[in-house]
Symmetry: C2
Subunit: 107 residues, 2 copies
DNA sequence: ATTGTATATCGCAATATTACGATAAAAGTT
DNA sequence: AACTTTTATCGTAATATTGCGATATACAAT
């Protein structure tokens, strides 16, 4: 039905899925990578860099901000977006906790 | 439009997004975790474990198999699913390559 | 042979996501 | 003040995802 039955799963599982979803679109991956390279960037930079419309970029930035991976500070008429270092480490740890659960062999 | 403009992004970025998408649903996270705990499991185990219909579980298993994270071997009338160790390490490395690109400070 | 178990796939309905034009709001520029 | 730049949000269309009932197939058991 397109609706996820979130109540069937644990808090941790839902959180893991929500965080992974932030990385599940190439535009958001590209935004993150550009943000890392440039240290910081603004919406209109990304409109140039990627070939997407301003409204679309803004929407992706909001999703990344909502999950906490990036943060934006107002700078006059523009927004200065950058990685949120604390959250970044936290998310990396979250993934590695899952990855490290599997040690070894298979059937 | 719901259509992702994959041609705007690099191969690596599209791959990263595709892999992240595998983890972007709590049912798939739950399947992976159960698969790790049990070492291996079958479709009907998961129907019991999670509260989803058999057809739904099967669909999620297929998506995980398509991205290569899990593999299934036929065992009589059932499928024995388990983590694909090689691919698992590869995916972990893929995430950490992205995570390690960001070192340090922010705006 | 018939019945039961296990899984995959099809078809559909409900919902979510992606993309963008249009517009609004806020700050800087002339 | 009028204009430009920058961004966010709204509304909408196109497409994707999620979930499941209803099958179909394959093997196992009686």
């Amino acid at each position: 039905m397109g609706i996820t039955k979130a109540d069937l799963f644990s808090e941790v599982q839902n959180e893991m899925a929500a965080v992974a979803k932030a990385f599940s679109h190439p535009a958001r991956v590209a935004i993150i990578e550009h943000l890392i390279k440039a240290n910081a960037c603004i919406n209109s930079d990304l409109v140039q860099e990627l070939g997407l419309a301003q409204a679309t970029i803004s929407q992706h930035l909001r999703e990344l901000k909502e999950i906490g991976i990036i943060q934006g500070t107002i700078e006059g008429s523009r927004m200065n977006y950058c990685i949120n270092p604390g959250r970044w480490k936290q998310v990396q740890a979250q993934f590695n906790t899952l990855f490290d659960q599997f040690k070894g062999s298979c059937c």
